[in-house]
Amino acid sequence: MMRSTFSRTGLRRSLLAAAIGTAVAATAVSNTAMAQERELLNSSYDIARELFSAINPEFQAWWQAEHGEEIAISQSHGGSSAQARAIMQGLRADVVTFNQVTDVQVLADAGLVAEDWQEAFDNNASPYYSTTAFLVRKDNPKGIESWDDLANEDVQIVFPNPKTSGNGRYTYLAAWGFAENEFDGDEEQIQDFMRTFLRNVAVFDTGGRGATTSFIERGIGDVLISFESEVNNIRSEYGSDDYEVIVPPVSILAEFPVAVVGENAERNGNSDLAQSYLEYLYREDTQRLLAGFNYRVHDETVVAEFADQFPDTELFEVEDVFGSWEEAMENHFEGGALLDQLQRR
């Protein structure tokens, strides 16, 4: 009797403790949320976290100086497509800074972003750009210099799955663009090349960072294909002695489009802030910061400063080879389209 009363009180006590804990923790969370005044949410692709972690404080300071207002900036990162989907389903992002035009276009089609969004900012609303480049192991043992070397029999490639990653799609389109040029548009040869290229893939991670982990941490493959900015960042992160960056002579222009999510920004009362935030990306200082992260930029002064860092490369645009992003998506990436056909066994 004694015993059972005892443990019943014990039970009650632990439930009580749990309830109190909940209340305390809940207040703590809501406090952090309440503490800020205006708050801008930037929804971005998954590998831009460090980049915007560097830009945001600069912008906050600038805005404070200009407008005397303290603001907060939140970041949401994920696969660019997943981010767009989340916004369509109600993620209240004020601005998007993506790595693929189609993902912004989806929002425009849904009416969340102005239809003429590409005209809203300079350079097709792409404050910086990059291309697709290779990261190879020390001394480049497989002698990889360009895309055709990737179709060699003994080469193992690592890049993210084009189905799940914008980064992976760029790689696929870049290889295709190269082949288109190399084989003068001979569809059969292009497809043969692409088939071999895809067969050399060792691992298809779902995102860019997963591919990096496979290549660096797990030691898989001879070459990692990713954005030029990314491979340079990886090299400086993991040691310039162990890896080399190869920028192929021909590659694709990867635009990093930005847009204000009009509906959300308006609703959040952040329209002015959102506009300024994206404009801020074009300022010389910011462009320098972007170049520091190995992105190619448009500002003449900064371009001159960083000329050594970015080798001259022939960059073709998606529109040049594939007509438009819509056509590229439809012909290559949709279920049953070329990518699926090329991978069929």
Partner: protein, 275 residues
């Protein structure tokens, strides 16, 4: 007493095999987590853990777990009481329905909530016009967490309450006890260990859920990042040590959970031995 498989050679072989396999299969991953977390020293580990975003993720994770538990508790007890104490048409169907969360892949679980409560969903669009946001905010995380954890308490209780039968409750009712009194004084003492075990399982899953939460959380660092999401982001950011530091925290929660469970079982066994 002699039993099958008692021969020393057999015994040693089986125990050895079990220990070896468990060590390789279960213990080694656990060790690896902590080894990775501390691979650059305690200070780096501590820096990662005491980071604002990590702390926030811990806080959010715990709040979600603590809010999930009472909901699952009420539902689990109500359902167990219903299907073990009454017979009515559709009882078996109810019992199978609670298995749905086990059959649904967590990513799909997140998706179906998103489709319903997201801006384009038929409830979500109504909510949106009234400026109520559930998805990509903590209520959404809570909702999917409840979805994936709701079977645990019920599943623990149902077999036990079935085995115990309703004789004791009937006796209480004949003695004039009311419903609540009967439950509190007769039923609850009998099921409390199973109940606590159910809560522990619920808690473990609520703390660790990744797939479903990742779909509805929106991954806003410092706002809707739970610990498992935070871990994944750190991993994505080449911060393997940071990721494993978070993993170590989650593993620590897991270990505490296991310890709590072992403690409960031990207590329950001891109590049984006394009776």
């Amino acid at each position: 007493m002699r039993r099958i498989g008692d021969a020393p050679a057999v015994r040693r072989l089986l125990i050895g095999a079990a220990l070896l396999l468990s060590a390789l299969f279960l213990l080694l991953p656990l060790v690896a987590i902590f080894a990775q977390a501390f691979s650059q020293g305690v200070m780096v580990f501590w820096a990662n853990v005491s980071n604002t975003f990590t702390l926030h993720a811990i806080g959010l994770t715990l709040v979600i777990a603590l809010l999930t538990i009472p909901v699952c508790l009420v539902f689990g007890v109500a359902l167990a009481w219903l299907v073990t104490r009454f017979s009515f048409p559709g009882r078996r169907i109810l019992q199978t329905l609670i298995d749905i969360p086990f059959a649904v892949s967590p990513v799909v679980a997140g998706l179906i909530y998103l489709l319903l409560y997201g801006r384009n969903g038929w409830i979500g669009s109504w909510l949106d016009t009234h400026d109520i946001q559930l998805m990509f905010a903590w209520p959404g995380i809570l909702m999917v967490t409840i979805f994936v954890t709701c079977p645990f308490v019920a599943r623990e209780l149902i077999p036990l309450m079935q085995a115990q039968g309703s004789r004791e409750e009937e006796a209480a009712v004949t003695l004039g006890a009311g419903g609540w009194t009967t439950f509190r004084r007769v039923t609850l003492p009998n099921i409390r260990w199973a109940l606590l075990y159910g809560i522990i399982l619920t808690n473990a899953r609520a703390v660790g859920e990744f797939g479903a939460v990742s779909v509805v959380a929106g991954a806003i660092r410092g706002k809707t990042n739970t610990l498992p999401l935070h871990l994944e982001q750190l991993y994505q950011d080449y911060n393997a040590v940071g990721a494993f530091a978070s993993a170590a925290l989650l593993a620590l929660i897991a270990l505490l959970t296991l310890a709590a469970k072992a403690g409960l079982e031990w207590r329950a066994a001891r109590q049984e031995a006394f009776l």
